[in-house]
Symmetry: C2
Subunit: 747 residues, 2 copies
């Protein structure tokens, strides 16, 4: 069973019960809100002098921070794209009898902070005692999933004693990134306006020139009185405020409703931006809090209808899986093909950038099964749109074909560690695999004709240039790479990378055949566009035949890389627990030299090319690698869990699933205060649907080979498959597949 460390068990809520300022950053991360367009950490609205990481983010708006500090290597990108903390739109300064409400100074009683995942909102309540008087606070905040540029807050105070209450809702553009170098301010060209009706701040990012317009308007409701006009307004540099004031008698109640909009010139013409934003704000204000909230929760109801997973008999597991689904849906709504899934979503600054190989390797299956097909397709088209930049990126390294970036916002590489940027090239294979996976799931082979083949051929061309023929051993090798296990750098012949490179070549040749057969004109056009000649494909075939895949012969397992067995062989179980997590306790040097594995590497290959390996092979490799794996990437346990389930290690599968599902909720890697591990949440989802559900589809028909963790009574999951909504029900005896909507499937 789960041991709860931070939050209270609840099927639909994430609950902080009691006040825990020492873990405030953690709760802020867990309770982040987002709607694909914008997002906030679960910060308090009122002033707070305790420890907090303020975070207010707009999707696709980033700052290209300097990377050229210290040493430089040819081919490095010019910048590291940072997720950008923007105008604080949620702030409400509150005074009681002239004293500022600040939970950093006066500890509240009966404090709860709740993320309501069913309805997509953040609820907070507490009792605040000051100067011998007592007040009950109740606050609700949401970012509309229906009107994604709109957010609203209801901030309610009930007085147990007579008092004067002052609310000062404000916008504040004087914000920094905590990870800014030398506290650099990332915004410029700021303008603002404020009158009794509304206030706004417009700021433009340095270098990237994104303009973001924030506007706000508030209203006070006390009984039947609605007070729309502030008693005063004030402006300061990048700051506007409206002041509302009222006297409450004991037992009386007052609520401030703050509406805000965040609009950007990514979506609207710069010249119309403020007019548009203020119009939107007026619409929201006119609709009112209750209507906005109802439309918002209706959208969430739709999401859950198609994406929910119900676990019977294990509330913590239930909470964990919904937490993961919820945050995935907050981060990416699939409507803007220029966006992607950042590893921290809207929950923190860390890892900057938006797109990693996580998207194809982990997130795509989730969106394939929980969204309509246009959405996963948008994720693929995103890479097609970046193909020219990937070709440039390979050229910078002196290589042919396309090398997709490790981290990107707009197709350009924006990560600057050589061992990652230049060497963790297996990411390229994940992009090819994403195309394969999309087509396998949807049956839409024509994607190859329109977009897929261009990408595949150029990735394959890269692989063919990146390998070198070794005449002594008559094979093709790949030197100087970093595999998925980032606790090894610059190794030779990472098994996974070599495997997936050869697989990409194979699949690309198949794809080429498909396009030649179905649309030969288009095939010729593509071949001509990139100057492909037949000789090149002959070489590809030779590489497929002669790729070097290292093995540990005496154990009959695949070798993660050349020389892996020269390392001292110790198991994780033999480590002192005080040494974990290694990445916080050990020097990088010690980690690199050890045999310990950060995340699925050989196992990732077995997971991707599952059909190639028999159960014994899977078992031997699992038995060898799992005891050496520390799972210090959030992407690791889900893959191991799925393979464990497949080879009959059901308890192990459940143990690994726990680790994945509640990684953030239980702060396993002691880093949730920085933000959530968004992309790995999709992996958790996979370990339920692919793992416990035993889902697979090799031939256009969904198959399920399920098992239940022993402490679960039942598992239901909703999934979309080729325009059908299925609900798969598993209990201790039976499996049922219900088609809720769509045409019958033919086998």
């Amino acid at each position: 069973m789960f041991v709860l460390k931070y939050v209270i068990e609840h099927p639909w809520h994430i609950i902080e019960e009691g006040y825990h300022p020492e873990d405030n950053r953690l709760y802020e991360s867990l309770m982040s809100l987002g709607n694909g367009h914008m997002g906030h950490r679960g910060n308090f609205e009122e002033d707070f002098t305790g420890d907090s990481l303020q975070g207010s983010y707009a999707a696709g708006v980033y700052y290209p921070d300097k990377t050229r500090v210290g040493w430089w290597k040819n081919g490095y990108p010019e910048y590291f794209a940072k997720v950008l903390n923007g105008t604080n739109v949620i702030g409400i300064h509150v005074e009681i009898d002239g004293d500022t409400v600040d939970l950093g100074k006066i500890q509240p009683e009966n404090f709860t902070r709740i993320l309501d995942m069913k309805n997509g909102c953040l609820d907070r309540s507490f009792t605040y005692n000051v100067n011998g008087k007592s007040f009950d606070f109740k606050i609700k905040r949401f970012l509309s999933y229906d009107m994604v540029e709109v957010g609203a807050i209801s901030y309610e105070i009930t007085a147990n004693n007579n008092a004067n209450i002052k609310f000062t809702p404000y916008l504040n553009g004087n914000v920094h990134n905590e990870d800014a170098n030398y506290d650099e301010f990332f915004w410029e060209n700021c303008s603002q306006s404020c009158d009794n009706n509304m206030g706004s701040i417009t700021m433009t990012t340095k270098k990237t020139g994104f303009t973001v317009h924030a506007a706000t308007k508030s209203v006070l409701r006390k009984g039947s009185d609605v007070i729309a006009a502030p008693v005063s307004i004030k402006e300061d540099d990048k700051y506007i405020e409206h002041v509302f004031e009222t006297d409450l008698k004991a037992g009386e109640n007052v609520a401030l409703f703050k509406y805000f909009t965040l609009v950007t010139d990514r979506d609207h013409d710069l010249n119309d931006l403020s007019v548009y934003g203020e119009k939107k704000l007026t619409d929201a204000y006119k609709a009112g809090f209750e209507k906005l909230y109802a439309d918002h929760t209706a959208k969430w109801a739709d999401i859950w209808k198609e994406a929910d997973i119900e676990i019977d008999g294990d509330i913590a597991a239930q909470q964990g899986i919904r937490f993961n689904i919820y945050h995935m849906k907050q981060t990416y709504n699939g409507e803007d093909p220029r966006l992607n899934i950042g590893p921290k979503g809207f929950t923190g600054e860390k890892y900057g950038g938006s797109t990693y190989w996580d998207t194809e390797a982990y997130c795509l299956p989730f969106y394939l099964s929980t969204s309509h097909e246009q959405i996963p397709r948008n994720l693929l088209v995103y890479r097609y749109e970046h193909l020219e930049k990937a070709i440039e990126n390979a050229a910078k390294l002196g290589l042919k074909g396309a090398l997709y970036p490790m981290v990107t916002m707009n197709g350009e590489e924006c990560h600057n560690e050589w061992e990652i940027t230049f060497e963790e090239i297996h990411r390229n294979a994940a992009i090819a695999y994403g195309i394969f996976n999309y087509i396998r799931y949807t049956g839409e082979s024509d994607y190859l004709v329109e977009y897929g083949l261009d990408v595949l051929l150029n990735i394959s061309r890269f692989w063919a240039d990146r390998v070198n023929y070794n005449p002594y051993k008559d094979c093709y090798m790949m030197l100087g790479v970093t595999g998925p296990n980032e606790y090894e750098n610059n190794v030779n012949n990472n098994w996974y990378t070599n495997l997936m490179a050869a697989w990409t070549l194979e699949y690309s040749l198949e794809a080429l055949e498909y396009v030649k057969n179905s649309n030969s004109k288009r095939a010729d056009e593509i071949l001509a566009k990139y100057d492909f000649i037949e000789d090149e494909f002959t070489t590809w075939k030779d590489i497929i035949d002669k790729i070097y895949l290292p093995e540990i012969e005496e154990l009959d397992v695949f070798a993660q890389q050349d020389g892996y067995m020269d390392k001292e062989q110790i198991l994780v179980s033999e480590l002192d627990p005080a040494d974990l997590p290694l990445n916080q306790k050990w020097s990088w040097d010690k980690i690199l030299r050890s045999c310990f594995i950060k995340q699925a590497d050989v196992l990732q290959g077995i997971f991707f090319l599952n059909e190639r390996y028999d159960a014994d092979t899977k078992k031997r490799n699992f038995d060898f690698y799992e005891p050496r794996t520390v799972h210090e990437s959030s992407l690791s346990p889900c893959v191991y869990s799925i393979i464990a389930g497949e080879i009959g290690y059901h308890n192990k599968a459940y143990e690994l699933y726990q680790r994945s599902a509640r990684l953030d909720l239980d702060n396993y890697n002691n880093d949730t205060d920085d933000g959530l591990h968004i992309t790995s949440m999709a992996g958790t989802w996979m370990s339920v649907v692919y793992g416990f559900g035993g889902f697979s589809t090799a031939d256009g028909v969904p198959k399920f080979n399920p098992f239940l963790p022993t402490n679960w009574n039942g598992l239901n999951f909703h999934m979309l498959f080729r325009n059908r909504l299925l609900v798969v029900g598993i209990d201790k005896e039976n499996v049922s597949i219900k088609m809720v909507s769509g045409e019958p499937l033919k086998n």
Copy 2:
């Protein structure tokens, strides 16, 4: 023969003839002045709006710049120590009839800038035409080698037309490092004073808190008139000036003498600093320019007496070798055991920090042969003083024993690339080898008793912890290292590192025996201090026996590292010359994957443990590795040159010597504008004395097995050996060894 690219051939001078503002930074580097205590780039005194890198440095004064930008790894140092540009003390603003003299605006005629290496001064002369009038300028500057805190400038103008001349000598503390992040200013707590008599600026470095006091005083001499009082003075923030003015008639001549001092609280009590500095300035001023200059040149005469090398028949080679000796002596005078030899000396900001393994591997032999024994001994004691920090440094990586830093100012590591900081650990062996080399040269085995054994045992303890026993192959391996060839990172079993680690263990055990025999109490004391027990030494012996030294069996050569032969094997001669230097033309990825070698690696081991290898072995390894070496470290060609000479490749030896000797003069690696390659200059010296001179000493007697490059008529070199001054003369027929002073040597 040399092809001169920048400077005019001259045995004692480095000459810029004609005005070359496009190469100004290059000439500024070449013509840097220094005296061990302070140094300047060869900047102009007067205002200059052209391209220039202003550089004024005080030895041992550095700024610990932030390194925590981007990604972070456990064990990284907190800072990267930067060489710090300080108060401009040489500045003289000059006006003619109210117009500022600026060679960036008006091109001078008959321009020459000369570094006079015999006398240690910088001479400049030119004709300046402005408003139809003409003036001859003659400027001499030196930093006294006799009073190292003093410098002086004579700035002389002869008028060919009547004119008003205004000199404004100043101090300016408003200086930046060009490599500062975000133009950060590195100084604080600045104070200043200025009166008719003198002016001063005192500034303290941020964080490190070094206080540097600069003071200046000037005097005007026109014929027999000496004008000591300025017509006016002025102060501004971190700026003081004195104004001198005179009218010249055609044919008349005026000279400004500017004296300055630079004193630091590294050498003097902070409270007395300004009093001391101003007293020193007064002394210098009273002595006068001519006397200061005479005392200064006398010191240089002494240096040349003991360190000169004369080459007959090749002026460019003559110039090259003196250039190297000269800059070595400017950089480090050996008097302060807290100082060391920075890779750029006082010639630029690049590479921050002061001490690399270059000191022991390259510089020590130079100082052993050209300085009295206390000076090389100071270099060794420097490391002894840092032993505790080296033990801490190893502990940070989770290892026992001592790991000396890759780059340091005060014993702490201050370089932050993991592949260097954590992995380029062969540096440790160079420090052990330095002790061995010092004792072999001087015969002072008792150094082991006093300082050496502590260092050796702790370095050995590090090696014994850093290797891992491989039970499958019954040997000790060293994984995850970077060898001297930095074009490979994180390799397994670098031959050089493994070799030198085992050698260190051997030598340490010998040293322990020596100390036990000569002073058993001291031996016991040391063993107790670091908790050594006999078992540990047993393990060391096992490691010595079973160290793994990779070989390329089919070629019977040592393998630079595991898997070297898996790389595509290409020779440098097969490269397009447009690809060179690789480090400017290729991506880091491509460099790492290639077989190309930056600098001597296997050959470095053969050079150090020369007696172990027969001529055939040296030849086979040279023949294999030299054609794969691009010599893109300044430390590379000298080692290859020496081995080439030894195996009879005389032309190759000379070719490689050329590359080393004139690296900066001819700007081979296209980076001299950043500063000079100071530490490699000692390597150049070695390639004359050890290479052409064939010097060796295995048994306390100097031996010479010389050869002359075919275009040289003769070679004489001066060297100190065990308190004797020798002059070795080599011509086409004969070798002579003259003992100029000291007792006869016994064989």
